[in-house]
Amino acid sequence: MNEREPSSVDVLIASDRVPSNAHPELLTEDAIWALLDNVKDPEVPAVSVVELGIVRSLSWDGKHLSVDVTPTYSGCPATELIEELIEEALRAAGIRDPQINRVLTPAWTTDWITGEGREKLRAFGIAPPQGSASKMSLLGADEVIACPLCGSENSERLSEFGSTACKALYRCLDCREPFDYFKCI
């Protein structure tokens, strides 16, 4: 009767333990890269944080893992969330106290989005950035953006900005569908 029921404290303590199947010391950097490739960007869930190029580097310092992450835009509201998702994924894999560092330099550029990431963006309906950021001109002519749905290059820009800081709004003049374009910076 007076026997203590399993309380939330036990659960807490249990969940505090490193999972018994975890062998963090066995996780190579390659394995961690693969692990982080499953962490999706919360605003563009078609691509992972690795494919977007915002996980800059990772390294083991003894038993401590350190991960460098860079924001896409200064005011990107997903910055903290992305850092939390990365930390959560690492802890779930049994890595204790991973250190997430926010680095600003060199500044993130769309050139770092991987080829695979670009394809996934297109499949998701977002036109990937065209060309290299270094070619972006201040007052230059508009770029030719292919519609991610029908492939037509006959498109027009509706707005320099879209639903998130990293996107602009376009419209295909052939299939008439509006679409997002991942801005080149």
Partner: protein, 254 residues
């Protein structure tokens, strides 16, 4: 003033101008003239507030009196704010909003472009991020100035009126004081003379394409924002922006 105090002061100027313009633009939430403009204005505001945070965080570390970025934003009064007078001017009609943005963007773009090469590494890093965003902002605001200036009779009249109205605040953007000179000497801030040339060069070029006239460089100018002497508008902005954190100090969840 020590070299570090000069840098702190300079960082607060950059941060405050970004922050106040970000707050001003945010007032258009739900009220912009078209949905695309709403998205654009909010995105620009977001970039500016993000940049402001980067500058405030650095300033807070140097000031080192226990205040963080939030406290610097929410618990300083108007006379402690160091923003340019231009950015605190009301949104008014969309021509005024875009003229203000254009004058600021030209200053912002050339300033960030120069700060990328600052001898202070942290400053250079924050600027490297910011200059990309500033470039995009300038491209958009200069396009708007041209559209309105070379548009209809009505749009031309409005943007010309906006240029005339705001011209009196442009002098402050390009007139250096002792802090600006000290930062240039320290290898951090832009060359004041170069900045002035670049600013007038681009403004006049875009104005010419937009069929607009600009004021005189030596016209009488309102200044003082960088020293904490503001127009009546800043107090109203702060009243709105600071109400919640002042009413509920140290609340961590809103």
């Amino acid at each position: 003033m020590t070299q570090q105090q000069v840098l702190q002061e300079y960082l607060l100027r950059l941060a405050d101008s970004d922050m106040i313009l970000g707050q001003r633009l945010s007032e258009l939430t739900g009220k912009a003239p078209a949905v695309e403009e709403e998205l654009a204005v909010m995105n620009v505001a977001l970039d500016l507030v993000g940049q402001a945070r980067n500058w405030y965080e650095y300033a807070a570390e140097l000031i080192d009196d226990g205040r963080d970025a939030d406290k610097l934003v929410f618990l300083r009064d108007a006379h402690d704010y160091r923003n340019l007078l231009m950015v605190e001017q009301p949104n008014d009609d969309y021509a005024v909003t875009m003229a203000r943005q254009f004058f600021f963007d030209v200053w912002h773009y050339f300033t960030m472009k120069s700060l990328v090469n600052a001898s202070d590494e942290r400053v250079a890093n924050i600027a490297a991020k910011a200059v990309k965003e500033a470039t995009y902002h300038l491209r958009r605001s200069s396009e708007w100035v041209k559209r309105m200036g070379d548009g209809t009779e009505e749009s031309h009249r409005r943007i010309q009126d906006a240029f005339n109205l705001l011209w009196r605040f442009t002098g402050e953007l390009v007139t250096p004081d002792e802090i600006d000179h000290a930062m240039f000497k320290a290898g951090i801030g832009p060359d004041p003379e170069q900045l002035k040339q670049d600013w007038f060069g681009m403004v006049r070029e875009v104005a010419a394409q937009a069929t607009l006239t600009t004021g005189e460089e030596d016209a009488w100018m309102y200044m003082g924002g960088k020293r904490g002497e503001h127009t009546e508008h800043l107090g109203h902005i702060l009243a709105v922006m600071q109400f919640l954190p002042r009413a509920y100090p140290d609340a961590t969840t809103w």
